[in-house]
């Protein structure tokens, strides 16, 4: 049984359809990578799965609970089993890195402070930031912020880990480290991960399955090899990094000429 199951999801912003009848199943213990260009609806789908926005129609069930129409208490319960690392990290700037990670542990569990300190240290050690707990988020570099965000997402030992663009804006070495971290987490904790990205090398490194999103629809869902072998023109274009709108020089020249002529006629 899939742990996350999206059915016929339709999302509209001001009448503009962003997601159009989307279906997606994510199995427990797999890393699903959502691949797609800018404006393809990746982030929208993510926000839907996190229950941050209401869809126009369709359903999303996480661990058997339909989060589009469940009670607030059920949504809270579902959310406690999901760890999320946002694109910008979204660490609370008013708290130190340690306190950021300890926040959910302190408020959602009855653990003793000494145990919480230990867990926080362990989570930071997992992402390689064991010595940086006392720092403030503003003192961390971009890559460290993202890793700290992953540590915070792991705080409550979630079954599902959601990562929004983990490698965007990072240098290749740090991005690769983060990829290794995700694979490590999956192998050690049997965590289910949903990773949104547009970086191909990273996607093919970590994914068990890949879902290609384009204009609010899923073009292809499959294993790495299936996606690589796909003959769908849009998938191929994405994988081969082929540009979409090439500048057509004669057309531009003709347009400019027409513009100049119209100005001359007016003067």
């Amino acid at each position: 049984m899939p742990i996350i199951s999206v059915r016929d999801l339709v999302v509209e912003y001001d009448g503009r359809r962003v997601l159009d009848g989307l279906n997606l199943d994510i199995q427990p213990g797999e890393i699903m990578v959502l691949l797609g260009g800018s404006g393809s609806g990746k982030s929208t789908l993510l926000r839907q799965i996190l229950g941050l926005e209401q869809p126009k129609s369709g359903s999303i069930s996480i661990k058997g609970t339909d989060i589009t129409c469940c009670s607030r208490a059920d949504l809270t319960k579902v959310r406690r089993s999901i760890g999320v690392a946002f694109q910008s990290g979204a660490l609370f700037n008013s708290l130190s890195v340690e306190d950021n990670i300890a926040l959910t542990l302190r408020e959602h569990t009855a653990l003793a402070p000494s145990i919480i300190d230990l867990i926080v240290w362990m989570k930071l050690a997992v992402v390689g930031l064991a010595d940086f707990g006392k720092l403030w988020p503003r003192e961390l570099s971009g890559g460290m912020k993202k890793r700290a965000a992953v540590a915070r997402a792991l705080a409550l030992d979630p079954e599902i880990l959601v990562l929004d663009e983990p490698s965007a804006g990072l240098d290749p070495i740090v991005a690769a480290e983060l990829d290794e971290l995700i694979v490590f987490l999956k192998e050690t904790f049997q965590i289910t991960a949903l990773v949104v990205t547009h970086e191909l090398p990273s996607a093919f490194r970590i994914a068990d399955r890949i879902a290609m999103l384009f204009n609010g629809r899923l073009l292809a869902v499959g294993t790495k090899d299936e996606i690589r072998a796909s003959q769908h023109p849009r998938v191929r274009q994405f994988l081969d990094r082929a540009p979409d709108n090439q500048v057509h020089a004669p057309a531009v020249a003709a347009y400019l000429e027409q513009y100049v002529r119209s100005r001359e006629a007016n003067s």
Partner: protein
């Protein structure tokens, strides 16, 4: 003409929408405020509330005191220049005492707090929106209203009336200094006159007003923060709007309260 009507209609609707949102947020805050109370609530919210009280109240003390002293002198001197002609200089005491406890103390404090803390609320919450911290709170199963607004609201309700009392004291003290230098009236005697000229009703009316001002400042500041959409430039705009709107609403509310007290006091 049709265009004018259209603009008027749209403006009316948007203002009504604003008032509606303000009310929704106010009720949500009142529901969530139990969690910020000491003993019965969540101790982390109470701690946050105490921190806010220090920021809103204690940090503003020098500014509010100076503001009150200056205004006290102004009121005493302006009053004296007129009253002297009728040989009624001792009425300056009544003017300053009643003027400050009923009106100037709470109003000056509210304007100072709206500039200092109303804008800070909007900036803080607006930044949290831009950096996805509010979304992070939601997915970490926290209620943003309870987590962010309730402590600020509680802190304002405590700090603003306290500041008003300080403002009253310093304003009246300034009047006393003026009387001492102009007529050699000793300060103890001055304060005895003050106590005989003001009634408990004057003080309580002033404090009631300052409670209402606290509600306005906290709610408008937080709402402007939550209304931030888009990037960092929206945060700057929201802080300006927060100050302008809360100052405006404070003065409107003051007019309403003064009218009510005037007619109630008559009978």
């Amino acid at each position: 003409m049709a265009n004018l009507l259209e603009i008027a209609g749209r403006e009316t609707l948007s203002q009504l929408d604003y008032v509606g949102r303000l009310h929704i947020q106010l009720w949500a805050t009142l529901r969530g405020m139990r969690m910020a109370l000491p003993l019965v609530g969540n101790r982390y919210r109470w701690r946050a509330a105490v921190r806010q009280m220090l920021e809103i109240g204690v940090d503003a003390l020098p500014m509010v005191a100076l503001l009150a002293v200056c205004s006290g002198f102004i009121l005493a001197m302006q009053g004296a220049s007129e009253l002297k002609r009728f040989g009624a200089l001792h009425y300056v005491i009544d003017l300053v005492a009643v003027g400050f406890t009923r009106e100037l103390g709470p109003l000056l404090t509210a304007i100072a707090v709206s500039g200092r803390s109303g804008s800070a609320f909007a900036a803080e919450i607006g930044t949290m929106r831009v950096t996805e911290e509010i979304d992070a709170l939601k997915v970490m199963a926290f209620e943003p209203v309870e987590f962010v607004i309730a402590p600020k609201f509680l802190a304002s309700l405590v700090a603003v009336p306290c500041l008003s009392i300080v403002s009253n004291f310093f304003g009246i003290l300034a009047g006393g200094l003026f009387m001492f230098f102009s007529t050699r009236l000793s300060l103890p005697l001055y304060f005895r006159y003050v106590l005989s000229s003001i009634e408990l009703r004057d003080v309580s009316a002033g404090l009631l007003k300052s409670l209402a001002f606290a509600v306005i400042i906290a709610q408008v500041g937080c709402l402007e923060g939550f209304r931030v959409r888009g990037g960092p430039e929206a945060v700057g705009r929201s802080t300006t709007t927060a100050v302008v709107r809360s100052t405006f609403l404070v003065i409107v509310a003051d007019a309403v309260f003064t009218t009510i007290f005037y007619f109630v006091g008559k009978t």
